[in-house]
């Protein structure tokens, strides 16, 4: 039941954002979203390491999504772009967003850098998916979470470093 609802919600959201989603590649089931990160906030030790590892893996996944989306867009391959957007949207809803829900990791000195990178990468991918509404919300959330820390160095644009304030401006210009 829950699965069907999630699926319906995702379908509606993506069809709305993409305009014309190809039905060919719609996943048939999505499972359930993971628990919110706040519920399972690691406090330290191996759990903290584990959280860092999960975040790092998801950051790399986002980089791979960004590359795949860029390629399909450069080929002018809308079918692939739509299928990827659908898949990535599901990935974010089911796995990434619950991981980013928690407030604590944006305040934790050992994780805030990675947390900011992950959110910026998510925003970059959303822009590539032309989901400007979600991208805008993500930018607002980053600005709110990291208020007054515009000088913090982040990994954006992908593959280089810049102050958070500059990274946010670069992304806002693209939204």
């Amino acid at each position: 039941m829950t699965r069907s609802l999630v699926r319906l919600a995702l379908c509606a959201a993506l069809v709305a954002t993409l305009g014309c989603g190809s039905k060919t590649y719609l996943p048939k089931s999505f499972g359930q979203p993971e628990k919110s990160a706040e519920e399972a906030a690691p406090l330290g030790g191996p759990s903290l390491d584990q959280r860092r590892e999960n975040m790092a893996r998801m950051y790399r996944d986002l980089v791979n999504f960004q590359t795949s989306l860029r390629d399909s867009q450069e080929r002018g391959d809308r079918t692939t772009t739509n299928a990827l957007a659908f898949f990535i949207g599901s990935y974010m809803n089911m796995h990434l967003d619950p991981l980013l829900d928690g407030e604590w990791q944006s305040r934790h000195p050992e994780l805030w850098g990675l947390d900011a990178d992950l959110r910026l990468a998510k925003c970059d991918v959303l822009i590539r998916m032309k989901d400007t509404s979600k991208a805008s919300k993500t930018l607002d959330e980053i600005a709110a979470r990291y208020k007054g820390r515009d000088d913090m160095l982040v990994h954006y644009p992908l593959g280089s470093e810049s102050p958070l304030g500059k990274a946010l401006k670069l992304l806002r210009d693209r939204v």
Binding site: G31, E53, E74
Partner: protein
């Protein structure tokens, strides 16, 4: 042995000891254990899987197909309840999948799919979800439905891979990933491996060669610290990591048709088929089986070509398929077998692709040809590699026709003209694109290949054609001259020009034709710089350059034969002895003249006989004339001796570059190719500047 297998085998062994040999009427604990761990071995190829299943059947006392028929289809539905029913349903679906993978019988896959669908309400359990989507993905491939296949793989990733990744990492950190209680989480390394094989290997085996591009993201993620990251679970040799690496390198490179997985897999598949055909060609020659393999490879290249959506992609296909065409012609020539293989590809087609790429040379236009994520160097490199294949194939095909003209004297003219046309097409292509502004897009070896093609036209028309027309003789002679301009270090070609001129009675034109070539070598700034900087082969080239500065050496080059240098040296010693004889004759005649003069002076007062006096004067005049002739002879001999003494050693120096052509032919990266490039552009620039004046 892999840890998981070890656990499974241990567990199964213990159960087997407890229950004794299984009978079809009961659940076999041995088979239940092996089916639960089927993710360990289900990706094996059909033959290995068959052997494994046979071994497990021996262990269980009943083969899998009998067990399926006698247990799953009869007793199991009645026996099992609750969780056990779910397990038995999953095992039955897995068993049918294994039978399908072993035999290829699609009916068994249908039963497997039907069975696993019974668990559609229990996909919250990762193990069920894995097999559900894995089996349906196989069914999509069997049906050739790329869209459904992509959906199933995406579902597999979202509902199985990502959820168990976090847990696996935690268990692995605590060294619990191989604990029997870790459940399906422990299967993660196999899940990665199985998905990788499904996407990059199985899809191609099942002929699903289109619409796989969305899975490029999955392939990139599998390569990113997943497949091959657990060598203690799956040894590197058993992992598909290496193949995945090749695919991702291609996807990231300039030969992926802008990161298209469909294209990349199709091209790799075609290259694999090409390798197989090449292996057969080496072992069996152009047998019927080899010809079939070549046709398969060509068909696979055709598929890749159709999948290419950019000119860069087409370039990647042509770069490889031209090699196949060249190999086929070389084999025909070598083996004397006239195998006809339909080729939807041609040298003209490749030239067309090159022309399109070259048409985007300026500004950022080139990026639009499939190089958006490539550097300009990669774009130029792609063009150069395509060029190399065009030149090699052209030369192979030209050589083939020329050799046919020898084997079939009745068709000598036809074959020689075919050869000349193929060489000529490369020459036209070369002259069109070897311009100052676009020379970067040519490989260094293109210039020597142009020499070979020009020489090929000359030889085809002048040596291989039996009845060339006067126009063809003139064309052949001109091509020989052009060849020497491109590569003046081929000594065989100088006398070939003389022989060609002789065919239309114009040997006298040799000097006028050859002198500019020699002057080009002597005055070339490119050669001078090469020698000054002591570049490779500078000494050999310098010796030839020194020799060509002597106009008599140029004549030797055209009219003498290097094999007759000893004869020329012998002639020199003959000249010396002739000179000695002539000198002696001069001395003798000088003495005689002097005597006659004395006699004439003494006789004048005593004799009044006019007749006698007149006779004495005549003798003196005759001797004086003979002396003058003898002295002229000595002078001529001196000149000849002097010229030959100077020119002959220089002519011998031209032997220094003997073999250089062969070295350049064998090594397309030979440093002297760079010198030929510089020499050509130096000459072309000078000619163009002269035209403008």
């Amino acid at each position: 042995m892999k840890r998981i297998t070890r656990i499974a085998v241990g567990l199964v062994f213990a159960l087997a000891l407890q229950s004794g040999a299984a009978r079809a009427a009961n659940e076999s604990q041995v088979w239940s254990g092996y089916l639960d761990y089927a993710y360990v071995y289900s990706s094996a190829d059909a033959k290995s899987l068959s052997e494994r299943l046979k071994g497990y059947g021996n262990e269980a006392g009943i083969s899998l197909d009998r067990y399926v028929a006698e247990y799953f289809n009869t007793l199991a539905p009645a026996e099992a309840e609750g969780n056990d029913a779910e397990n038995q349903t999953r095992r039955k679906a897995i068993a049918y999948l294994l039978l399908y993978l072993q035999s290829g019988n699609a009916d068994q896959l249908e039963v497997s799919a039907k069975t696993i669908r019974e668990l559609a309400h229990r996909l919250d359990r990762h193990e069920n979800s894995y097999w559900y989507h894995y089996i349906l993905a196989h069914r999509a491939l069997e049906r050739g439905n790329a869209g459904d296949f992509v959906s199933e793989v995406f579902d597999l990733w979202l509902t199985v891979v990502v959820p168990i990744e976090a847990t696996y990492a935690t268990l692995d950190t605590l060294s619990l990933s191989d604990s029997p209680n870790s459940g399906f989480v422990a299967a993660l390394p196999y899940v990665y491996e199985n998905i990788a094989r499904l996407v990059v290997l199985r899809s191609q085996e099942k002929g699903v060669d289109r619409e796989l591009d969305p899975l490029g993201a999955i392939v990139r993620m599998l390569y990113d610290n997943r497949v091959g990251a657990y060598p203690d679970v799956i040894p590197a040799a058993a992992s598909s990591r290496g193949y995945l690496e090749r695919i991702v390198e291609r996807l990231n490179g300039s030969e992926s048709d802008e990161g298209s997985l469909t294209f990349t897999l199709a091209l790799l598949e075609a290259s694999k088929r090409h390798e197989e055909a090449r292996g057969m060609l080496a072992k069996q020659g152009l047998s019927a089986e080899t010809q079939r393999a070549l046709r398969t490879a060509t068909g696979a290249y055709e598929v890749a070509f159709k999948r290419a959506s950019t000119v860069g992609g087409q370039c990647a296909v042509y770069t490889r398929v031209l090699r196949e065409i060249g190999e086929l012609y070389a084999a025909r020539q070598r083996l004397g077998v006239d195998a006809e293989i339909e080729m939807p590809f041609s040298i003209e087609g490749a030239i067309g692709v090159y022309a399109t790429l070259r048409g985007s040379f300026t500004g950022d236009e080139w990026k639009k040809q499939g190089f958006e994520n490539s550097t300009r160097e990669q774009y130029v490199d792609s063009m150069q590699r395509l060029w190399e294949e065009i030149q090699e194939t052209s030369l192979n095909v030209g050589d083939y026709y020329v050799s046919r003209s020898v084997k079939e004297p009745g068709r000598a003219d036809e074959m020689a003209r075919n050869g000349a046309r193929v060489y000529g097409r490369y020459l036209s292509f070369f002259h069109q694109y070897a311009t100052e502004d676009g020379k970067e897009s040519l490989p260094d070896s293109a210039y020597f290949a142009a020499f070979e093609a020009a020489k090929g036209v000359g030889s085809a028309l002048l040596s291989y054609a039996q009845k060339p027309t006067p126009a063809e003789v003139r064309l052949g002679t001109e091509r020989y001259r052009a060849a020497l301009m491109l590569f003046p270090f081929d000594r065989e070609l100088w006398p070939a020009i003389t022989a060609a001129l002789a065919r239309h009675g114009q040997q006298s034109e040799y000097a006028a034709l050859a002198r500019p070539i020699a002057e080009h070598v002597v005055h070339s700034r490119a050669i001078q710089a090469w020698i000054d900087q002591k570049e490779p082969e500078a000494d050999r080239i310098n010796r030839v350059r020194r020799a060509l500065a002597d106009s008599e050496v140029v004549l030797y080059m055209g009219f003498a034969e290097s094999t007759k240098i000893p004869d020329l040296e012998h002639e020199l010693s003959t000249l010396s002895s002739k000179r000695s004889d002539a000198t002696r004759e001069v001395d003798r005649l000088t003495r005689k003249r002097d005597e006659l003069r004395k006699t004439a002076k003494a006789d004048v007062p005593a004799s009044a006989d006019d007749g006698e006096a007149a006779s004495g004067n005549q003798d003196l005049a005759d001797v004086a004339q003979q002396l003058a002739d003898a002295q002229a002879q000595v002078t001529r001999l001196d000149q000849q001796i002097s010229a030959r003494t100077r020119a002959l050693p220089l002519y011998k120096e031209t032997l220094a570059t003997d073999g250089l052509a062969e070295e350049l032919r064998l090594r397309r990266d030979h440093p002297v190719h760079t010198l030929l490039r510089r020499m050509y552009h130096e000459l072309r620039s000078a000619a163009e500047a002269k035209e403008k004046q």
